[in-house]
């Protein structure tokens, strides 16, 4: 029996060796798996699908060049996605799921609740994460592998408020947003910026999932604000709030210092005439032909229509930068070295132009990828356009 056991053991070891050798041979065809983590369904789906589209475009660009040169290997790039449904628990589960499939680099998540849920798990797995969200603690010194696709409201709100005040001369604003971290973290920063510009600001929060905003609108208008700002309310909610504000007789301008989605907001509100006077933060200078060329590149490489949401144009830079950092670090597994390479990379994108690493003053760490953004405006029911605003390095 001992002899049989020894022979079985030897045979098993040999078989295991063959399997491992086969695995090693397969690994010579190097593949980098990029995780795309975000809401792919539910009210925030368009933000997540824009992020997924950006990751797929960056991967397709790399593969079209013959893959990434990582040390001595030429690696193809693939994208694995996970639907968080815009929840913290969904994001945490998603990080575990992606890590179990060999993902070391994650593009996303999109919203504050997701980022809060994903960070501890990603840190435990030592994954590099390029997150968005307007959370006040989106990044920090305690999360050295988490980067932020920015700039955040602390960067872009001041110039937009200044320009809006010049245009509309408002003295008071009522800000409305969901009552979770995705709403409160940005609305409170927006309110502070308005106040710094001499504009009285009130904050009003609603339960995410609210379907009829008529009571909220009544409450908003009780304070007789000059402007109502929909902050980071999902575009569908924001459109409905605007429509119900107009039905209630509010004629003042509408602001939106929050997530993008202007086209959907106009549709849900009932048209540009209903929206009438509107200013908003746009994640990229959307009228720049070089920026719009990203969508043409998407059609060419992926042979389908790009996601509608303009967030894709910003996300693609984060995905490209991550892949460039992997090449520069010469490793697809050591995320610490890739993070170090990423911090050293100059912020310059062929489509969005030159940006800067920011975040030191607000987050305590200079890992916020700040790129030129835009301020859009509709005046008297006419689309005026998106004005380019550049960022300065810290």
């Amino acid at each position: 029996m001992p002899g049989i056991a020894k022979r079985s053991l030897a045979a098993s070891a040999f078989a295991l060796g063959l399997v491992l050798a086969g695995g090693a041979a397969a690994q010579t065809a190097c593949e980098i798996k990029l995780g795309a983590l975000g809401p792919m369904s539910g009210p925030a789906a368009q933000w997540g699908l824009a992020m997924l589209g950006a990751a797929e475009l960056a991967a397709a660009e790399a593969n079209a060049r013959g893959g990434l040169q990582v040390g001595s290997q030429r690696c193809s790039v693939s994208v694995l996605s996970y639907d968080t449904r815009y929840t913290a628990e969904g994001a945490a589960a998603g990080v575990n799921n992606l890590a179990s499939q060999g993902v070391r680099f994650i593009i996303g998540p999109v919203g504050s609740p997701e980022v809060t849920g994903a960070k501890p798990v990603a840190t435990r797995h030592r994954l590099l994460m390029f997150a968005n969200s307007y959370a006040k603690n989106a990044i920090g010194p305690q999360w050295p592998l988490v980067f932020h696709l920015g700039p955040g409201p602390s960067e872009w709100a001041p110039p937009i408020v200044r320009l809006a005040k010049e245009q509309f001369g408002m003295r008071s604003v009522a800000i409305v947003a969901p009552n979770d971290q995705g709403g409160t973290d940005i609305a409170s920063v927006d309110a502070e910026v308005y106040r710094r510009h001499g504009i009285a600001a009130t904050e009003e929060y609603y339960q995410r999932g609210t379907t009829n905003f008529a009571p909220i609108v009544t409450r908003l208008l009780a304070s007789r604000p000059d402007v109502v700002d929909t902050a980071s309310s999902p575009p569908g909610d924001a459109g409905l709030i605007i429509r119900q504000l107009r039905q209630a007789g509010f004629t003042g301008p509408i602001g939106r210092l929050g997530g993008p989605g202007t086209e959907e907001i106009i549709r849900v509100a009932g048209g540009i005439d209903v929206v009438r006077n509107f200013y908003w933060y746009e994640v990229a200078p959307t009228e720049d032909p070089r920026v719009r060329a990203i969508s043409d590149e998407y059609r060419r490489l992926l042979n389908r229509e790009p996601p509608e949401n303009t967030n894709m144009w910003l996300w693609v830079v984060g995905a490209r930068m991550t892949l460039r950092a992997i090449e520069r670090a010469g490793t697809a597994t050591d995320t610490g070295r890739v993070a170090a390479a990423l911090r050293e990379l100059p912020v310059e994108d062929p489509n969005l132009g030159r940006g800067a690493w920011t975040g030191q003053s607000f987050f305590g760490i200079n890992q916020e990828l700040s790129l030129p953004f835009g301020m859009g405006m509709i005046l008297d029911g006419r689309m005026v356009g998106v004005r380019r605003i550049d960022v300065s390095p810290q």
Binding site: G42, A45, Y206, Q207, N212, A214, P215, T218, A248
Partner: protein
């Protein structure tokens, strides 16, 4: 005073919408004993069918609403006939079947129509104004349809042979079957009637609010809350509870804000259920 009256008008509008939603939900439980987790899905589907009928087929809105009702009723009836019917007495299985159907509907809508809300507006525009008070005409139309639907449903259930047969099956299926009632025919019809009501609500209300593949998520929560408060299976309870939910939501949100308003609503329901655990009209819960 202006806010008080405005909140009252909003409460009636909300209550009417919630009543339409809750009626179908409570009907299915009352007759089949099935908790239909796909109810929100039929609401969203009704909205999209009406939207497609208007924007792609070019139908006038009233006809589009009719198409939405027929489509959602037919899908509901077929689903009951070929899947739920086989496991109708297994509560866990029917829950999973309806929850699965909801996921299939919402994901299919996402795949076909995309994540963004389309432009789908109510054809009746304008707002009635009296001083600072206002009532959008579209809400008035929904109120009228809601009243007609509630009245029609009441007549159908309490004044027709079809309704008597359904109530007999709900009361004691075995005895009803010995009297010649055929659940194989009547259950799909009842299920289709309920899903058709959800489709009607979706077709009418989504152009007033917003249409998206996930529009059914909050609908399910509201419907469930309303029918639990009214007493599972009770038509009168669903209507009364819907109005209570509408008024509490409106007044609490206007005077206490969106976050606290939601809390007050749940606390109110909790207090009522502590006093009457079977709901306001709990005696009418099906006995079968």
């Amino acid at each position: 005073m202006h806010e008080f009256l405005t909140a009252g008008i909003i409460g009636i509008s909300l209550g009417a919408q919630y009543a339409l939603l809750a009626l179908g939900f409570t009907l299915i439980f009352g007759i089949l004993g099935v908790i239909n987790f796909a109810h929100g899905g039929f609401y969203a589907l009704g909205g999209y069918v009406a939207y497609a009928a208007v924007s792609q087929a070019g139908l006038p809105f009233p006809l589009a609403v009719l198409v939405a009702v027929v489509a959602t009723a037919a899908l509901g009836a077929l689903y009951e006939r070929f899947l739920i019917e086989r496991l109708v007495d297994d509560h866990l299985a029917t829950m999973m079947l309806t929850l699965g159907l909801y996921l299939v509907i919402s994901t299919s809508l996402l795949a076909v129509f995309g994540p963004q809300s389309p432009e789908f507006s109510f054809p009746v525009k304008g707002t009635l104004r009296a001083g600072t008070l206002y009532l959008p005409l579209e809400n008035l139309v929904v109120l009228a349809v809601c009243a007609a639907a509630i009245g029609g449903l009441w007549l159908l259930i309490y004044r027709t042979d079809f309704g008597r047969a359904l109530r007999a099956l709900a009361d004691d299926r075995r005895v009803a079957m010995t009297q010649g009632m055929r659940p194989g025919l009547l259950f799909p019809l009842a299920f289709g009637l309920a899903t058709g009501l959800a489709g009607l609500t979706g077709a009418l209300v989504t152009p007033i609010l917003a249409l998206s593949p996930s529009a059914g998520d909050p609908v399910l929560v509201t419907s469930f809350l309303t029918v639990i408060l009214g007493g599972l299976g009770s038509i009168a309870g669903a209507v009364v509870a819907a109005l209570i939910v509408g008024f509490v939501e409106a007044y609490a949100s206007v005077y206490l804000g969106g976050s606290t308003g939601a809390l007050i609503l749940f606390v109110t329901v909790l207090v009522i259920l502590l006093a009457r655990p079977t709901g306001l009209f709990g005696r009418e819960i099906r006995g079968a």
